[in-house]
Amino acid sequence: MILEAKNIGFRYKNTGYILKNVDLTISSGEIVGLIAKSGYGKTTFAKIISGYLKQSWGEVLINGKDIPQTGFHPVQLIYQHPEKSMNPRWKMKKSLCENGDLDEELIDTLGIRKTWLWRYPNELSGGELQRFAIARAITKDTKFLIADEITAMLDGVTQAQIWHSLIKISQKNNMGIIVITHNKELANKICTRIVKLNEINNI
């Protein structure tokens, strides 16, 4: 499976271009690092290819076809701050199962403890919530995962744990991952290929 961002351009009504003529292709099984400084459009780009934002120009295609805007989006975005990604009124089990039944193996791989399922989001730490956010977004229909600085707020051990799990999952599910980060060492360690946003962005 191939995800293509073709000639992507984006601007708000009164601003200059944030993205212009950006091309990026990723196949399943790849882990591509996208390095950029804060505020340079990497989150905008991430939102466009995961369906949260509509591009001003260009196309986002999977295997040459447009991605339907209804139904489960095959490109899932994981945010940097998981606290806002969960409905504060729902117990974790409900959030986790929003996309279908519990996948025991997935939960184990991501290090989620059973006791956490009955807690509310405000009772869990950032690292714990992030594991839920990832587990929830991964289903048989998830072809690509966009990880937007997902471990920037987490300590070294948690970061290593989560990425080791994600790499395992990406291999097992043949799921491509785009890793957005400003941490070059991290990118070098986990990515099969690294792209610098300022080199592919022609603003």
């Binding site: 949260y52 489960f72 989006h73 945010y79 806002k84 409905n87 504060p88 009124r89």
Partner: protein, 250 residues
């Protein structure tokens, strides 16, 4: 909460005893010119007011939830339409509107219920609309959409749990208004017919007898109405306190 039980006691008493005719013997509230026991009349009158208030409030709140919900979840023009409607209805003095509707629809309970229902949905609708709009833009709702969830799912699962506490409190607080309006409109002669025991009727009839010194005909019923309204208000406040942790979003 103690006050809450008192209210149910009163209502129970009304349902239980109100069916009697009104004999004239030893009477806590005195008797009126027909010898009817004022206490029983008051209690029955309050019961009628409560029933009407309840029906009207419930209908009103359903209108509010539909309106607020639609405004928050449907495309922009629905929201614009709703906002204009809210501004319009808010500007109309309630009493006059209710009287007009009463006259239009025919006097009696039906008229009052419709009148009150059509005027009181406004502030609750606004609150619900605001809550719904806020939730609509939350990260977890945007994520839900990317999971393929439709508007109805989002309304039912994400918005309702957050909107529900506001709705309940709004509903409870609507009661006193409804009851008071019913009483006022009846007092003015546009509501329930004179034979039914309604606080408004009791009060309006007692006006004639005040001059002759029969103060008990007005004071006790009036006081009871006031106390009932205050109790419901208190209930609403207590509810707000209890539900408060759920009102904050963190």
């Amino acid at each position: 909460m103690v006050f809450g039980t008192l209210i149910s006691d009163e209502m129970m008493a009304a349902n239980f005893k109100g069916k009697n005719q009104f004999p004239s013997l030893s009477h806590p509230f005195g008797t009126d010119w027909l010898g009817r026991d004022m206490f029983f009349r008051t209690v029955k009158g309050l019961r009628n007011s409560i029933v009407i208030g309840t029906i009207a409030s419930l209908v009103s709140s359903v209108i509010a939830i539909i309106v607020g919900g639609l405004a928050g979840t449907m495309p922009k023009w629905v929201d614009d339409f709703v906002r204009i409607a809210i501004d319009l209805v808010m500007g109309i003095p309630h009493l006059i509107f209710i009287i007009l509707i009463s006259v239009f629809v025919g006097k009696g309970a039906k008229g009052i219920v419709i009148g009150v229902a059509l005027t009181h949905w406004v502030s609750l609708a606004r609150v619900i609309r605001n809550e719904v709009l806020q939730v609509r833009n939350e990260q977890y709702v945007l994520i839900s959409r990317r999971f393929g969830k439709n508007n109805w799912y989002i309304f039912k699962n994400h918005m309702v749990p957050i909107v529900l506490p506001q709705y309940i409190i709004g509903l409870v607080l609507m009661f006193p208004h409804a009851i008071l309006h019913e009483a006022s409109v009846t007092f003015l002669g546009f509501g329930l017919s004179p034979e039914t025991a309604a606080i408004g009727i009791i009060l309006s009839e007692s006006m004639k007898y005040l001059i002759s010194g029969m103060w008990h005909l007005a004071v006790f019923p009036g006081l009871s109405l006031v106390i009932l309204v205050l109790l419901i208000n208190k209930l609403g406040e207590n509810l707000t306190l209890i539900l408060n942790p759920y009102l904050t979003r963190e």
